[in-house]
């Protein structure tokens, strides 16, 4: 299908470009322009990041009352804080007086937040508790009406705290929907759940936030090319890899608007990445536990910008052992071609200190700013935004292809009926349905529909 062009400009209009994404299920393509366009970026901040649930952090980052961290939803600054009563708050970081941000550090512990402009002071629940010279200059001011604003909705899932800037959007439970079946494989397989190690690593890349988010839904195809050097060195043991014969693949698409890929060893009870005795059936069904113990590789994206990755990897195959870790990612948009990457490494809370350290080192050594698996991703993603934002690219209506395995492109089978988990499931890691799901959710958000497919079909 062609692009509608507006009459005053030879370039496609944003509305037309967005509309074209809505046909991804039929065409398998999207206009590349969405990966670098000022107008679309602005609309994303207003629609995607203001109307969906966005990851803020993990509860283990702020264990004690007064612990706080500065976080962002789209371009809006928030304070992620455990208040004096032990409750987690997500407060808009903007003083009720003249509006400047009141938090100076990226994290710490405090009993109050004091604005540097005129010293209005708030407690950790956001209540205004101090106005200098109030009895002289602000006699009539009712401080109860001037608490810091809270994010309209805040909720957590298995320790992951999300916030939603719309009070009307469906609850987090509805939003995550059936996809929690897959999140639990990574968050609930061990007693005590998961905890964050260290502070999230942050860095900025010259590409669009959606590139990382779409890649992490399950772009296994790129692994063979982009990560060939890491595979050749057994950093990801080749028998476990996407081309390996031993593993059983599954792509999970259309799961409450979210998607992921899994690969597991069907013929082994235990794949060896986590200590075997850490697994428990307390929180998982038999099917989930069976799968969790066999996983060798999984990635997924909770729309819009939270991704996760769990892999059995080894940054030194000659001297170390294959180790699993959980990587949680946030692709924070900074501009149409600028993304701030937030990278957390999580480990089972109940594991030994020795294992936690080894898992962390495996995580940063493979999937972080210096990760020897992932540095190659960041070497190629910049180019996508460069071409997508170019005049000629827009003029010719450059499209990005997500047709792999779809329709008659391959023999990929839908195995939803035999697979124990929810969603539309394919018995391959070589199909683009996971990415189509992501862009379908993007289209729904950009056209004002809630992401829950129950009310958007």
């Amino acid at each position: 299908m062609g692009i509608e062009r507006n009459t005053t400009n030879s370039m496609p209009a944003a509305a037309d470009v967005i509309e074209q994404v809505g046909s991804i299920k039929e065409t398998g393509t999207i206009p590349s322009q969405i990966h670098n366009d000022d107008e679309i970026h602005q609309l994303e901040l207003e629609r995607v990041f203001s109307d969906t649930w966005v990851l803020v952090g993990h509860e283990s980052e702020i264990p004690e009352p007064g612990d706080y961290a500065k976080r962002y939803i789209g371009d809006s600054p928030f304070i992620f804080v455990r208040d004096d009563t032990g409750e987690v708050q997500v407060l808009f970081d903007s003083c009720q007086h003249r509006g400047t941000t009141v938090v100076r550090a990226e994290q710490g512990n405090t009993s109050y937040f004091r604005c540097p402009y005129h010293n209005w002071t708030y407690d950790t629940t956001g209540e205004l508790v101090g106005v200098p010279h109030k009895e002289e200059f602000f006699k009539e001011l009712d401080t109860c009406e001037y608490a810091l604003d809270s994010a309209p909705q805040v909720d957590s899932y298995r320790g992951l705290v999300f916030a939603c800037l719309s009070a009307d959007a469906p609850s987090l439970e509805e939003y995550l929907g059936d996809f929690t079946w897959y999140l639990d494989l990574h968050l609930q397989f061990a007693d005590g759940g998961m905890e964050v190690v260290g502070e999230p690593i942050r860095w900025e890349i010259d590409t669009n936030w959606k590139i990382g988010a779409d890649n992490f839904t399950g772009d296994s195809y790129h692994t063979l090319a982009t990560h060939k050097s890491a595979m050749d060195l057994d950093i990801f043991p080749p028998e476990l890899s996407a081309a390996g014969a031993e593993r059983t693949p599954a792509d999970i698409t259309e799961c409450s608007g979210h998607s992921c890929m899994l690969a597991y060893l069907e013929n082994q009870e235990y794949a060896g990445g986590y200590p075997e005795d850490i697994f428990t059936d307390t929180h998982l069904s038999d099917d989930q536990l069976r799968l969790a113990k066999r996983l060798v590789s999984s990635v997924g994206t909770v729309f819009p910008n939270m991704s996760f990755l769990q892999m059995n990897l080894n940054p030194d195959p000659e001297n170390r052992e294959v180790t699993a870790f959980l990587n949680v990612r946030k692709w924070q948009p900074v501009g149409p071609k600028k993304t701030q990457v937030w990278n957390w490494i999580l480990v089972p809370r109940g594991a030994s200190e020795e294992f936690k350290q080894r898992a962390y080192d495996t995580g940063i050594g493979t999937f972080s700013v210096a990760g020897n698996f992932e540095v190659d991703d960041f070497a190629v993603w910049d180019g996508i935004a460069e071409a997508a934002g170019s005049t000629f690219g827009k003029k010719i209506g450059r499209e990005s292809n997500f047709q792999m395995g779809v329709g008659d492109m391959s023999d990929s089978d839908e195995i939803s009926d035999e697979f124990p988990g929810p969603g539309e499931v394919y018995g391959t890691n070589f199909e683009d349905g996971t990415m189509q799901t992501f862009y379908q959710s993007w289209y729904r958000a950009m056209t004002g529909q809630h992401i829950d497919p129950e009310d958007s079909q």
């Binding site: 990226e106 710490g108 860095w203 982009t226 050097s229 940054p315 050594g365 210096a370 190659d376």
Partner: protein
């Protein structure tokens, strides 16, 4: 010439030679400068309020926490044409300065220095600047220095670089 002055010159000579190996892509020669038990760390820097009791440098958050084995694996990877992060290779220039000999023992010297690393890559005028302080331990092995420990304390908390596909 005082012994301490001469010692500093020897340390500088080591650090400049090491920088040359890294800037010239002679990573196998660089590995030869490391002791078998080398500890190579780049802790994450955290923006904290003035007066905070906690260190700005994370105790458990790192960009790099490596030993000789993991460093060797990284170098082997860079040898490959499919290591896209370094193909085409980064053009780096390290400026090592303000070399200070902090402590000496019979066979080890603790040295601080400043590092300014310029990186440019590919078909662009963009560049990355990574600036920080190195805290090194140099050990005499068979009459010459080797690097036994390095901690690089970067001046940025959010790195302005697409990746750290090089050593600091």
């Amino acid at each position: 010439m005082s012994d301490r002055f001469e010692l500093r010159l020897q340390c500088e000579e080591f650090l400049y030679r090491e920088a040359e190996f890294l800037d010239d892509g002679r990573l196998h020669d660089w590995l030869e400068l490391l002791t078998d038990d080398v500890e190579y760390r780049v802790p994450r820097r955290v923006t904290r309020e003035r007066g905070s009791e906690e260190s700005e440098f994370s105790d458990d958050g790192f960009h790099y926490r490596e030993d000789l084995g993991t460093l060797r694996t990284r170098v082997k990877r860079f040898d490959r044409e499919y290591a896209w992060a370094e193909n085409p290779p980064s053009r780096t220039r390290r400026f090592v300065s303000n070399v200070r000999v902090e402590e000496t023992s019979d066979d080890e010297v603790r040295v601080k220095s400043n590092l300014l690393l310029y990186r440019n890559q590919g078909d662009t005028t963009d560049s990355d600047l990574l600036v920080g302080e190195r805290h090194d331990t140099l050990r005499r092995v068979d009459g010459s220095f080797k690097l036994a420990q390095r901690e690089v304390q970067l001046d940025q908390t959010i790195l302005d670089t697409r990746n750290l596909s090089f050593f600091l």
